[in-house]
C-alpha cells in the first residue's frame, strides 16, 4: 500500500486529525456549500484561517438515526489505516447535542484546487493518460468502499487535483455519510460489494493487494478506531453493528468482491 504522496502540510494534517477525535478549535460558519443532500456548510478555523466543510448542515441538524458525522470520521480513520486518500475528517461538538443531535464532522480540503471528477471529465481535462493513472487508486478504493459498505458511490464524490502532475491524476474521496451504520442495521448484515462506478481501469492485482492489506489489519486497531467515537456522535448499538461488520468483512473481502 502507500501509493499516495501528499504535500508536507497535508501529511501533517492527516496525522494530526487521525490522532484526535474532536477538534478543540473554534470554527466560523462561512455559508452553505450547496452541493449535497447533507446541506453542508463552509467553515473557517478562527485561529489559523484553515477552511473546511462541516456536515450535516442546519436542515439536517435534528437527524438522530443517520450518524453522518461519525461515518465521515470513521471513513477517514479507516482509510488512514489503509493509506488511502479519503479527505481528512475531525468531529465538531459545537451546538451538539442541543441543535446538532449527532454532532458534526469537518472535512479538510485535500488539494488547494480541486474539481469534481465529473466536471473535470466534462471539461475534457482527464486525458486517457490521466484516466489510466487513476486506475490503481480507483481499484483500491472500490475494495475499501466495499469494506465499509459505502455501496452507493458516485464519481462526483471524487475530487481531482487541478494541479495534478502531467501524467498522474491525483484524487481524493469524500462523502461517506451513507456508509457503515447507515447500511448495517444488525451485527451480521449481508451487504453486496460496491460495483465499479469510476470511469477508470481496474487493476485486479491492486484490488487483491488492498483486500489482503485490510484483512491483515489487527482487529484491535480497527476496534480502537471505532470505539473511540462516543456520544453524541454514535450510540452503542450502531457502534456495535459497525465494529462487528467491519471485523467480519475484513476477513472475507476477497470473497465478497469475488477476487
Amino acid at each position: 500500500m502507500g501509493r499516495r504522496t501528499y504535500s508536507a502540510l497535508q501529511a501533517r494534517l492527516r496525522d494530526e486529525w487521525f490522532g484526535i477525535v474532536e477538534t478543540p478549535d473554534v470554527w466560523i460558519d462561512r455559508g452553505p456549500m450547496n452541493d449535497g443532500e447533507s446541506q453542508s456548510i463552509r467553515v473557517e478555523n478562527a485561529a489559523t484561517g484553515m477552511m473546511g466543510v462541516a456536515k450535516p448542515g442546519p436542515g439536517k441538524a435534528a437527524e438522530e438515526g443517520h450518524y453522518r458525522a461519525a461515518h465521515e470520521k470513521l471513513a477517514f480513520d479507516l482509510a488512514y489505516l489503509v493509506h488511502l486518500p479519503v479527505a481528512p475528517v475531525v468531529l465538531w461538538r459545537d451546538q451538539a447535542p442541543d441543535i446538532y443531535k449527532r454532532g458534526r464532522s469537518i472535512s479538510a480540503w485535500t488539494f488547494e484546487q480541486s474539481l469534481k471528477w465529473d466536471e473535470a471529465q466534462n471539461r475534457g481535462l482527464i486525458t486517457p493518460v490521466l484516466r489510466e493513472s487513476a486506475g490503481p487508486i480507483v481499484s483500491a478504493m472500490r475494495v475499501f468502499h466495499t469494506w465499509i459498505a459505502d455501496t452507493d458511490r458516485k464519481s462526483d464524490h471524487t475530487q481531482v487535483n487541478v494541479d495534478s502532475p502531467e501524467k498522474s491524476l491525483e484524487t481524493a474521496f469524500i462523502d461517506h455519510g451513507n456508509s457503515l451504520a447507515f447500511v448495517w442495521k444488525s451485527a451480521d448484515h449481508p451487504t453486496p460489494p460496491q460495483a465499479p462506478y469510476m470511469p477508470a481501469p481496474e487493476h485486479s492485482d491492486v484490488m487483491i493487494e488492498t483486500a489482503v492489506f485490510i484483512t491483515g489489519l489487527e482487529d484491535g486497531e480497527v476496534s480502537r478506531v471505532v470505539n473511540r467515537i462516543g456520544l453524541p456522535y454514535l450510540p452503542a448499538d450502531p457502534k456495535a453493528h459497525i465494529l462487528a461488520n467491519l471485523l467480519a468483512r475484513k476477513r472475507n473481502l476477497r470473497a465478497i468482491l469475488g477476487i
Binding site: P32, N34, D35, G49, M50, M51, L125, V162
Partner: protein
C-alpha cells in the same frame, strides 16, 4: 397586458486558488442571472474576457488554458443551464455542480413584478420589457464584485443573455 410576478436570481462565479485557506486568492470571473416571470424565463451571463497574467499563473495546470478567457469558459455552463435545467432551477443546479475551486455561489433572489403583453408572438415585446431589468441587476452585481476585488476592477468584460418561454 397583465401583471406578472416572478423572481430574479443572481450568482457570482469565482475561482478559488486555495480552498484550504481563507486568505487564498479568489479570482472573480462573472455573474450569471436568471429571471422567471409569468411564463417567461430569461438567462444572462456577464464575464471577464481575460485574466491577468498573475491570475492565470495562480490557476492549476489542468484548467489554466481553459479559464484564461472566462467568458468563453462560462458560456458553456450558461448554454448547459439554458437547455438542461427547468426554469427557476438554473443557478441552483450550477451551484450544486460547481462548489469547489470553480465556484458558483448559492443564488440570491428578489421578487419581480411587471406588466407584460399576453398572447402569441409577444416574445420580442416581453424581451424589451424584462431584459433591461435582468441586465441592470446582473451588471450591477458584476461591477460590485469587481470593485470588491480592487485589483481586477478595470478588466474588459462581455455579456450574453437569452429570453425563452419557460412553459
Amino acid at each position: 397586458m397583465a401583471i406578472q410576478t416572478g423572481r430574479l436570481s443572481l450568482s457570482r462565479v469565482t475561482y478559488h486558488t486555495n480552498l484550504q485557506q481563507a486568505a487564498g486568492t479568489i479570482i472573480p470571473l462573472g455573474v450569471i442571472a436568471e429571471m422567471i416571470i409569468g411564463s417567461w424565463r430569461a438567462l444572462g451571463l456577464v464575464a471577464r474576457t481575460s485574466l491577468t497574467d498573475r491570475e492565470t499563473a495562480l490557476v492549476g495546470r489542468l484548467l489554466r488554458d481553459q479559464i484564461s478567457v472566462p467568458f468563453d469558459f462560462l458560456k458553456r455552463e450558461y448554454d448547459w443551464a439554458l437547455t438542461e435545467t427547468k426554469p427557476g432551477d438554473a443557478l441552483e443546479k450550477l451551484a450544486q455542480r460547481f462548489s469547489e475551486s470553480l465556484f458558483f455561489a448559492p443564488p440570491t433572489s428578489t421578487s419581480v413584478k411587471n406588466v407584460l403583453p399576453t398572447g402569441d408572438n409577444v416574445g420580442a415585446a416581453v424581451g424589451e420589457l424584462i431584459l433591461p431589468d435582468l441586465r441592470k441587476a446582473r451588471d450591477h452585481e458584476f461591477y460590485l464584485m469587481l470593485a470588491e476585488d480592487e485589483q481586477n476592477g478595470d478588466d474588459a468584460v462581455t455579456s450574453q443573455d437569452m429570453l425563452r418561454r419557460a412553459a
